[in-house]
Amino acid sequence: MINKEVPSVAEAVADIFDGATVMIGGFGEAGSPIELIHALIDQGASGLTVVNNNTGSGEVGLAALIKAGRVSKMICSYPRSMNSTVFPELYRSGKIELELVPQGTLAERIRAGGAGIPAFYTATAVGTMLADGKETREFDGKTYIMERGLKADFTLIKCRQADTYGNLIFNKTARNFAPPMAMAGTVTIVQTESVVAPGEMDPEIVVTPGIFVNRVVQVQNPQHESVLVASGVSYP
């Protein structure tokens, strides 16, 4: 019978392996699954390729994972944020690789990966250095570049409510990358503020259907990155 709830964040991330590609939801702190990221730090996997719009801030969450030396490559659109110091230092010293992708192209590449689309064309970045080395092609007289779908071994996201089938709803702008990443991850792991039984969520308002979700773990009162950073917290 189907029940995707697991009892702890530690169990939820236990099988993430060295060298895995891990998509992590969130745009800045909104939607960042801090407790899952901290569990991943505790778990110890390294050599990770991480896909996230940013690179975290302060020394908690994603920034802490990077600081711990577990991330060998970042795929993101904006690795420079307020209070973001960990990534820039490692990047300048050549200790971490960066694949910079325009934000919309990143979102669409992730969706394509989840939707079984190996490649698509976009006008974004045409005529810029981010198109260097990319195949270009004309359609109806306009130039586009080809971009590849992106998949992950694991996806870590946060939501507001889940049911035990893995149906998810989100909170305001914390939704951002979570739905496409849930689709693109071979194993999608969700931290949720509450878990309900199937049938307690209106089927019309489900944002991510349970088929895209493998594990659900309750984190009732998730921490906020900005609060932790303002308090000077450093994880672990």
Binding site: A115, M183, M201
Partner: protein, 224 residues
């Protein structure tokens, strides 16, 4: 029932029940029109399957009680259905992202012909007067992890539906994993059709004679 019986082999319901036995607990399943639809009646004890219908519902339930259906709650065959607790509705691009993206565990489809290389023909007879209509069949066979076919072993005219090459237009090349017929369960392997199980009272020769390509006997487990 014996091999001499006029009505040899499984009924449609028994075929559906036999397929259901091979579906693992927790599977996300898309069912084609016809015999596959009957599978919902035979979920084995202790298992739970979630049914996907490609027009936009995950968690399809049984047909509504007489007079309680809704014209805007239908399945891919455009028949009225219900939604189970824990269902979700979504738009077509999301529904086919589930299919194309390899998120469904299994689809069970009918067939006009299956070839021993796994080719499936189930959407068109290719006749000059036929109205071609494909629906989601090509998406399903291209995207779903496992493809089972459930079908009568032979056509109404007695011709084999399991063949060495499809003569009808293909739905997809090399896509079928297993075939469930009234006479047998047959796996599609790299070596071709391989018998997995005979229906009660059916002999190997009886099935082989009615199969349009070589049929390998049941594989004997090798000592390990």
């Amino acid at each position: 029932m014996s091999a001499n019986d006029a009505k040899i082999g499984l009924s449609r319901e028994e075929m559906a029940q036999r397929v259901a036995m091979d579906i693992p607990d927790g599977s996300y399943v898309n069912l084609g029109i016809g015999i596959p639809e009957l599978i919902t009646r035979f979920v084995p004890e202790g298992r739970e399957f979630i049914y996907h219908t490609e027009n936009g519902l995950l968690g399809m339930g049984p047909s509504p009680a007489e007079g309680e259906g809704e014209p805007e709650l239908i399945n891919a065959g455009k028949r009225q259905v219900t939604a189970i607790p824990g269902a979700s509705y979504f738009q077509h691009p999301d529904s086919f992202a589930m299919i194309r993206g390899g998120h469904l565990d299994l689809c069970v489809l009918g067939a006009l012909q299956v070839a021993n290389n796994g080719d499936l023909a189930n959407w068109s007879t290719g006749g000059p007067d036929a109205i071609p209509a494909v629906g989601g069949a090509m998406d399903l066979v291209a995207g779903v992890k496992s493809v089972f076919v459930v079908t009568q072993h032979c056509t109404k005219h007695g011709d084999p539906k399991l063949v060495d090459a499809c003569t009808y237009p293909l739905t997809g090349p090399g896509v079928v994993d297993r075939i469930y017929t009234d006479l047998a369960v047959i796996a599609v392997t790299d070596e071709g059709f391989q018998l997995v199980e005979l229906s009660p009272g059916v002999t190997f020769d009886y099935v082989a004679e009615r199969t349009g390509a070589p049929l390998l006997p049941i594989a004997t487990p090798t000592a390990s």
